[in-house]
Homo-oligomer: 200 residues x 2
């Protein structure tokens, strides 16, 4: 049986269906929505995709997303650059910033160690973290990976790598419910987790 | 507090969040996914949006989506052009075609009457349907709007408009579970609904 929609429309459905968490039916709905948008809106959507891809890159210091030479946190003179909070993803930086409690800087790994998914140390921004620590001026590294198996394993792996540098390596307190996701932590929980951090 | 992501990235999140059924968190995940795509993939996504918008339009006869002068069904000589099945959306044509039971043509209303949402007869492709019927050569019109309040009201409204033309106006049998959505009907149910259609 021939395809029921024009090929260009099928292609758009395929593109949406390839996004994470979007099934075939949802992809169809989204594609129909694109067709029903007022003039200029779909074009603006396409432009937003291209624009984000072209302007956004990793901060050369902390690896967080930025469209500038350095990210806003690394650029700030009001932040304590001797304390580095290590997170898995850029969205985790947003979660911690929301608590308004943390005044140090960050290091974004862009993932966690996951042998099941073939993610090893070389796939994360670990080399960049070690270079930062090696360059000196850092007194404490706070591990803020998710409190799950892979997050814990990554934190333990990193703490072993960092210990020889003679700095304080701490871990976010388990104020965050175990097994949950850092991304969904409320501000109060995040605050308590920061206050109760302990040496590891 | 300053925005935590680069503006172009926030814009992309906003664009995703404006899509139906996509919340803020999902939009963020999708935007991150776009950044993580291999080279060329994000560009292809943007191109698919623009391409679909530029090539896809309504078939001048049945109002279904097409990228050609006429849609594949209206163009086909093997279809019975004297039987017209009226559906609310292009996706409903796909649902009926999947049953492989129907050999007539379609008319896509692009919505249903919905006073609550300010959708009146002039917002649907009703004028085009009446013009088709008025032009002659049509013996039966099958109402295949969703079996819910608005779908039923639309079918009844149209059947009153069509009766004066002296043709048979039928309605899909309620093989489709009442209150459900035409889009999710399985092939067997759709087949029974087509077979059991009755005059209204």
């Amino acid at each position: 049986m021939a395809s029921l929609f024009p090929p260009s429309f099928e292609t758009l459905i395929d593109r949406f269906a390839a996004l994470p968490g979007i099934g075939r039916k949802s992809a169809q709905r989204l594609a129909f929505h694109i067709l029903s948008l007022p003039d200029g809106e779909a074009e603006a959507f396409a432009a937003a995709i291209l624009d984000a891809r072209q302007t956004v890159h990793a901060c050369p210091v902390c690896q967080n997303l930025t469209d500038d030479e350095l990210c806003t946190v690394c650029r700030s003179e009001r932040r304590d650059h001797s304390v580095v909070c290590v997170v898995a993803e850029p969205r985790d930086v947003a979660s911690i910033e929301r608590s308004r409690e943390y005044n140090g800087v960050y290091h974004v790994l862009h993932g966690v160690l996951s042998p099941m998914n073939h993610v090893g140390p070389d796939d994360l921004r670990i080399r960049e973290l070690l270079a930062r620590v090696d360059a000196g001026g850092i007194s404490e590294v706070i591990m803020a990976t998710n409190p799950d198996t892979e997050g814990d394993a990554t934190a333990i792996y990193l703490s072993r790598l960092l210990k020889p540098f003679g700095l304080k390596v701490t871990r976010l307190a388990y104020g965050i419910p175990v097994g949950s996701n850092l991304e969904f932590a409320d501000d109060a929980t995040m605050l308590r987790a920061l206050e109760g951090r302990r040496e590891m």
